[in-house]
Symmetry: C2
Subunit: 288 residues, 2 copies
């Protein structure tokens, strides 16, 4: 199998590594940044850089486009123009409606691996990054079933668990379980910065609940600005629902009914257990 | 130094262990639950259980009341009635205004160690639980300076960093950095439970941002119902401010200005660095 990777950050680099190591593929890569390609070659993710995007995909059987969400439409269009007729083309973007709606080529299948983070760059690429990871695929009625199946098998060879989903559902779920938590983290650090300044106080040295709640505050703008923009309608819908829920918590607190507060809190414990019961790190909560 | 501990969960048990080991104190303890006292004796936190609260504190020079916030007023009153005239009495409750306002005894100094969690019970008590931990103290003008100083030195001997703070500021800060994150975690799991049910979907198997954001969802009601109740005015004020902030984020998203979204996100990264820069676990955020 000849695999091309366009964009070699942590995700693209890890795809290149895993495709070569685990799937035994012949891997070609290209990136707008020559230094990223040099690093990819140095860590053994690719044999040698391609001279252009077109050269990288010219004889590929599968192409992964691993560039930021904002650069996807143009990059995917260039790839489809240059790739062979019998080549599956996919992306790894965190939002799926825009790129899927913009493509009617039967060779394209949108994708999104839930693994790692582009932060660290190709130097941190790992061959096992996708081991056991959910990898969403968003085939449309136009997508070629044969090419979809080829991609599916390739992802399994990378160690991932491919899961088909429609783009609308994908974006709604991700707005809730990823984009909203990022917004809440950003809002919490802003609130704390303002409040502690006015109290002329400093943050308690040990605040595990605050630390966990703000772990993703200020995630890399180069990636996240695109995500927020491309999914803002779904994210706004989740924000509105969340604010409504906070209003109901406010009523609960204002009422001051201990039994009702306990019941609400017990329900949260049960919800979390059900949501995360079979997931790593999904154990019992701390309390501080 | 003769130290009495009333209530031996994780915090009380760890105080007993550290007072005996690190501070070389003679430790007596009492609990409403005989099994907790047996466990405390078995793990070497105490020599032997006292027969009553009154017996435990009869000859103490320092008493730690480590019971849930709701049981503090009655328990502290009983301790003050039975303790010697020259004995400092403190508590470890997560909210401070109610207990401090209710006491005018010069022997009482409110306290709150930011360490661990009562979840795990005395069986998980550790002699090093307070190493380097901030331990808030809320002395009032009525508090005896001599007794305050004795408590301060004892906390340093336990490994903690005592920090004086007024009860109002304490409760406002904790509402923001601990109680609000707990409310957000509870609200997120409720929202996800409802949304995923209506989507007939399941949670993506790997969602590190959701997992971090909900780590404290459903923290033990036996502790947290009291915390929510006793600090609900401060918590409601933080909730209102937070909802206002989410509204401003909604406007930002609806405007769809990439530069403004990037600037907001960069500010969050900077805020978090400043808030947590010298704290354990305060490093760069992941992105997924």
């Amino acid at each position: 199998m000849r695999v091309a990777v366009i964009g070699v950050g942590l995700i693209g680099g890890s795809i290149a590594l895993a495709a070569g190591d685990a799937a035994g593929a012949e891997v070609v890569a290209w990136d707008t940044d020559p230094a990223a390609l040099d690093t990819a070659a140095r860590i053994g993710a690719i044999e040698q850089p391609a001279a252009s995007l077109e050269q990288a995909v010219a004889s590929a059987e599968a192409v992964f486009v691993a560039v930021p969400v904002g650069a996807l439409p143009d990059t995917v269009a260039r790839v489809l123009a240059a790739a062979p007729r019998d080549c599956v083309v996919t992306d790894v973007g965190s939002t799926k409606r825009a790129i899927v709606a913009g493509q009617d080529d039967q060779r394209f299948v949108g994708g999104h691996p839930l693994a790692g983070a582009e932060t660290a760059g190709v130097a941190h690429a790992r061959t096992d990054l996708f081991d056991g990871a959910t990898w969403y695929l968003t085939p449309t009625p136009r997508s070629s079933a044969v090419l979809y199946e080829r991609l599916h098998q390739l992802l399994v060879a990378l160690g991932a668990r491919p899961e088909p989903i429609d783009a609308d559902t994908h974006d709604a779920i991700l707005a809730l379980v990823s984009h909203l938590p990022h917004v809440l983290a950003n809002a919490l650090v802003a609130e704390a910065t303002e409040a502690l300044a006015s109290e002329r106080s400093r943050l308690p040295a040990s605040g595990p609940s605050f630390r966990d709640a703000t772990r993703v505050a200020g995630a890399p703008s180069a990636i996240w600005t695109d995500i927020y923009l491309s999914n803002r309608d779904a994210l706004i819908a989740q924000l509105d629902a969340f604010v409504e829920r906070l209003r109901s918590v406010r009523v609960l607190l204002a009422d001051g009914d201990a039994a009702a507060i306990s019941a609400w809190n017990e329900a949260a414990a049960e919800h979390r257990r059900r949501l995360l019961h079979d997931q790593p790190g999904g154990g019992a909560p701390p309390t501080a």
